[in-house]
């Protein structure tokens, strides 16, 4: 690896993470506007034209608020928890190819930060670290509701991680590779999209991914009516904001992963690949907000029963069916 490669990698990291952070900021506005539209309201439209400066105003507000440390809280872990949640959510994007590779000055530049041959495993590994932030945040607050929220979220994430991993197995059997770039290359036309070859796998993965992001209808860790605010009850100021940024970063990452694995990634006709990628990701972001705006919350026992008694057997069935189709 020479100096130019290192510089290129740094530029890619800056551009992709910078873009992701920008999307995280505007995701807050997007969600509020879309939910308002679903509920027949207007939503934030005062700061700048159509509320376009709202995220900046929010950031300034949150940064200047008092940072409260609850009595009896474990100071180090309490401060560390939001970061532990936020960083894995960002890191997942590192293996997602955002565009086709580019040839510039006789050099082949891949539009992915790290094209490792175990891309999918990397995603599973990184997202399994994210749960620590929530459980530790809940525990370190030294308060009842956050602890309950933290414990709930752990149980939920462990349960749905199993089904998520198994839902992907069917896709991996057909693709025969863990590399995200390879998987995108295999979906060169619409008929080859994995969503048509793995419909059940896609539905299962989408549900589990939704559960992993802790959003409605799976947002029991922060169910307001039962737990005040869940694991983030005691948090304030920027630490609180970090939890929310983590949630939005997670949603964007999940949308990008679904696009890449099941909807052909950046592949598409006429328009440049990066535009196709953003259109597809944008659609799933909208779908996430749409789901939030329309569905009620699960009850806790329903959630667990659904995860273990419906999703898990279906994921196993999917593997079996895929195997049968591959042999035939």
């Amino acid at each position: 690896m020479d100096t130019l490669d290192i510089i290129l990698t740094i530029v890619k990291v800056l551009v992709i993470f910078g873009g992701l952070m920008l999307m995280v900021a505007y995701m807050t506005l997007f969600e509020r506007r879309v939910v308002a539209w679903i509920q027949n309201r207007i939503g934030p439209n005062r700061v700048g034209p159509n509320g376009i400066l709202q995220p900046i105003a929010d950031a300034i507000k949150l940064l200047t608020k008092e940072d409260v440390l609850p009595a009896g809280a474990n100071k180090i872990i309490f401060s560390l928890a939001p970061t532990i949640t936020f960083i894995p959510a960002l890191l997942t994007i590192a293996v997602v190819p955002v565009s086709s590779s580019l040839t510039l000055f006789g050099r082949n530049i891949t539009m992915v930060i790290s094209d490792m041959n175990i891309g999918i495993l990397y995603i599973l590994a990184v997202s399994s670290i994210g749960v620590y932030g929530i459980i530790l945040g809940g525990w370190a607050s030294n308060s009842k509701y956050p602890l309950l929220g933290g414990i709930r979220s752990t149980a939920q994430m462990i349960s749905y991680e199993v089904s998520m991993g198994l839902a992907l197995v069917g896709l991996l059997m057909i693709a025969g590779t863990f590399s995200m770039t390879e998987i995108v290359n295999q979906q060169s036309s619409i008929i080859k999209w994995f969503v048509f070859r793995q419909p059940l796998g896609f539905i299962l993965f989408a549900i589990c991914a939704l559960a992993e992001t802790n959003r409605i209808p799976f947002d029991l860790p922060e169910a307001e009516s039962e737990l005040v605010g869940g694991y983030n009850t005691e948090y304030s100021s920027m630490k609180f904001a970090m939890f929310f940024m983590a949630e939005y970063a997670h949603i964007i990452a999940v949308s990008a992963i679904i696009t890449t694995l099941y909807f052909g990634g950046w592949q598409g006709p006429i328009l440049p690949p990066i535009i196709w990628f953003l259109i597809k990701v944008g659609f799933f972001l909208f779908a996430f907000v749409w789901i939030r705006g329309t569905l009620p919350r699960f009850r806790y026992d329903q959630l667990m029963r659904f995860g273990w008694l419906i999703l898990l057997p279906l994921a196993l069935l999917n593997i079996l069916l895929t195997g049968i189709f591959m042999v035939l």
């Binding site: 041959n117 175990i118 495993l121 599973l124 590994a125 399994s128 620590y132 530790l136 414990i151 991680e161």
Partner: protein, 170 residues
């Protein structure tokens, strides 16, 4: 470059390991252990064994330690839960195991030094680190231990269900 990364990871690993045994609260200790496991995954990645690194994070840091933390939090372990008698016994056991481990470590360090410091971060040959190779080895050469492990896990699952059921019936 590689040596520098190795040294950073090694120092972090030792630092984390010391934290695991010196921190008083069980939760902090468990977090330090998670940290050590992630650093070890980094070391695996450094030698090119990405698959093993990913598994290290998924299985140990992601699954096992989450359950550990979960249980520590549910039981709400306090610092002074270990009685004096237990402490004496664990101290004795610790000295014996520690000495044995020290010899083991000395042996490994000697072999590593004989091969030169590059051996520390020498990339694993591609033929050994790929998923296909690992899985075919696992299902042919090491089939018996592999199956044995799965039986062991099955026993553990059945045991856990049995324990959980007993409590409910009472």
């Amino acid at each position: 470059m590689q040596l520098a990364i190795f040294i950073i990871f090694a120092i972090l690993c030792i630092f984390g390991s010391i934290l695991v045994i010196t921190l008083r609260s069980a939760v902090s200790s468990a977090i330090a252990l998670v940290f050590v496991m992630c650093v070890i995954a980094g070391l695996f990645a450094l030698v090119g064994a990405l698959f093993v690194a990913a598994l290290q994070v998924i299985v140990y840091a992601g699954a096992v330690m989450v359950l550990f933390l979960f249980i520590i939090m549910l039981l709400n372990l306090k610092e002074e839960l270990i009685s004096e008698d237990d402490k004496k016994f664990t101290r004795f056991l610790g000295i014996v195991l520690g000495t044995a481990f020290l010899f083991e470590l000395a042996f490994f360090v000697r072999t590593a030094l004989m091969r030169g410091s590059e051996a520390l971060y020498e990339p694993v040959p591609k033929t050994l680190s790929s998923i296909a190779v690992i899985s075919s080895e696992l299902f042919t050469k090491f089939l018996f231990p592999f199956e044995l492990t799965s039986v062991l896990l099955l026993i553990a699952i059945v045991g856990a269900i049995l324990l959980a059921k007993k409590k409910n019936e009472k």
